[in-house]
Symmetry: C2
Subunit: 261 residues, 2 copies
């Protein structure tokens, strides 16, 4: 029996590798995320190949786009103060969450909003983790556009067919604990469908739609971690995917299809 | 610059490998899932190593435990008939979903239930995909127990420290498309916590809880697929995790903590 002792050696040809890109510098307003990725790849002696997926923690995209607010810039409204007081929340975070939202879905026990880009999440994704001192990081204004811009630059520089997924770690209504999911993407369709595929018994399955960008975002989180690991970029190699017209902004259910609003 | 042309070669030491275990036989009632895994590993010349995770599609666990119901065994109640008629659902699937549930959460537009084991999902997880002709596969009666039993046998046979995750592909209330998630687990804590860890700016983060078993289940689905791939077992190597007392049955929010019921 062959013994695969080497943890870094994959077990068969039908396998996917998920790799942390180490040494990505801290990104500040105006820094170019694609340039930072390309430089880090070069330093790491890594070349992107066709069909590689580049998974990016949204924090560095937000920072590069100036989506960081200092506490001194924030005037707290009466409504934000009220929600904060009732729930023991940080009033600045509540104020920014309200500004980023187009609808408040729950404000008791949690502050769940629909963001202007249609994502339903806690605090409109406004977070203090990995933000500069006394500052808050907002989600990118249009994460699919951000992904598209990064994809264009990486494709131009490398010539490879790539997919980009921008992620955030968010809670779920029915399940405890947060998971990493896709908020922006380019070069890969948001969903995959097994329409027409046959099951083990040779019957054709009815339509089934899987959100592949969320699954891929989730599979990158174990290497990203959430705090001092400082691994905002993960590369996934060996996953077969198709592009299409569906983006991460198509993933949140619109209000009309949401059974729980 | 080093060019990594080989798709199967991981890119750095900080990487995770996800591998499909090919050639797992069709499992029937009374077959032992752990034995099937061990035999397939041997045929494939693969040896499980310490800290490997074995991800198992619940279908084969359900079948081995006899959790398969033939349509002829099902007497459809008036309530099931009514829900099926109103929504255009399969009345047999509705009847089985009601029997498997302890509470119906929605029955218009979707049939969302809380199963007897506390999972909130569509049709109590009752499914026809990959079920024998005219039959339905139910979720395992106690998926954490199933995972524990498989873990014990694999540990005894291999001597390796392992984790087991039993998965199902389910929809989400706020996001379109289904994702693979954990319904049973053993040898790995359901959650990981970054309490006390510092962020990039040296501040200690407040508690943040990530559902690692759901993320790992999601990362296995791309190789499992849902239909004729017939890949019910995936091995994850290179992920560092701890065990603990929290299991997959601790992941669904209890009704008292669910803001949307």
């Amino acid at each position: 029996m062959q013994i695969l002792e080497d943890r870094d050696k994959p077990l068969s040809k039908q396998s996917i590798s998920i790799m942390a890109l180490l040494g990505v510098p801290i990104i500040e307003h105006g820094d170019d995320v694609a340039d930072a990725i390309l430089k880090t790849l070069e330093t790491s002696n890594i070349q992107l190949l066709d069909d590689d997926l580049v998974i990016i923690a949204h924090t560095i995209v937000s920072k590069s786009e100036g989506r960081v607010v200092h506490v001194d810039e924030v005037l707290i409204s009466g409504r934000a103060r009220e929600i904060a007081d009732q729930n023991g929340f940080d009033p600045v975070q509540v104020e920014l969450a309200l500004r980023e939202s187009k609808e408040v879905i729950r404000s008791e026990g949690a502050l769940i909003t629909e963001t202007k880009t249609g994502i339903v999440c806690n605090f409109s994704g406004v977070d203090r983790s990995n933000a500069p001192e006394d500052s808050y990081v907002l989600l990118p204004e249009n994460p699919d556009r951000s992904a598209r811009n990064i994809l264009r630059k990486l494709t131009n520089a490398t010539g490879a067919r790539l997919g980009i997924i921008i992620t955030d770690t968010q809670g779920r209504p029915w399940r405890k604990g947060s998971v990493n999911l896709a908020i922006g993407s380019a070069g890969i369709n948001a969903f995959k469908r097994n329409r027409g595929k046959q099951d083990l018994y040779g019957r054709t399955l009815r339509s089934s739609t899987v959100c592949q960008v969320d699954e891929l975002a989730a599979s990158a989180e174990p290497l990203m971690g959430q705090a001092d690991e400082g691994v905002p970029i993960v590369i996934i190699r060996g996953y077969e995917y198709e592009d299409g017209s569906e983006r991460s902004s198509d993933v949140p259910r619109p209000k009309s299809e949401d059974l729980f609003r």
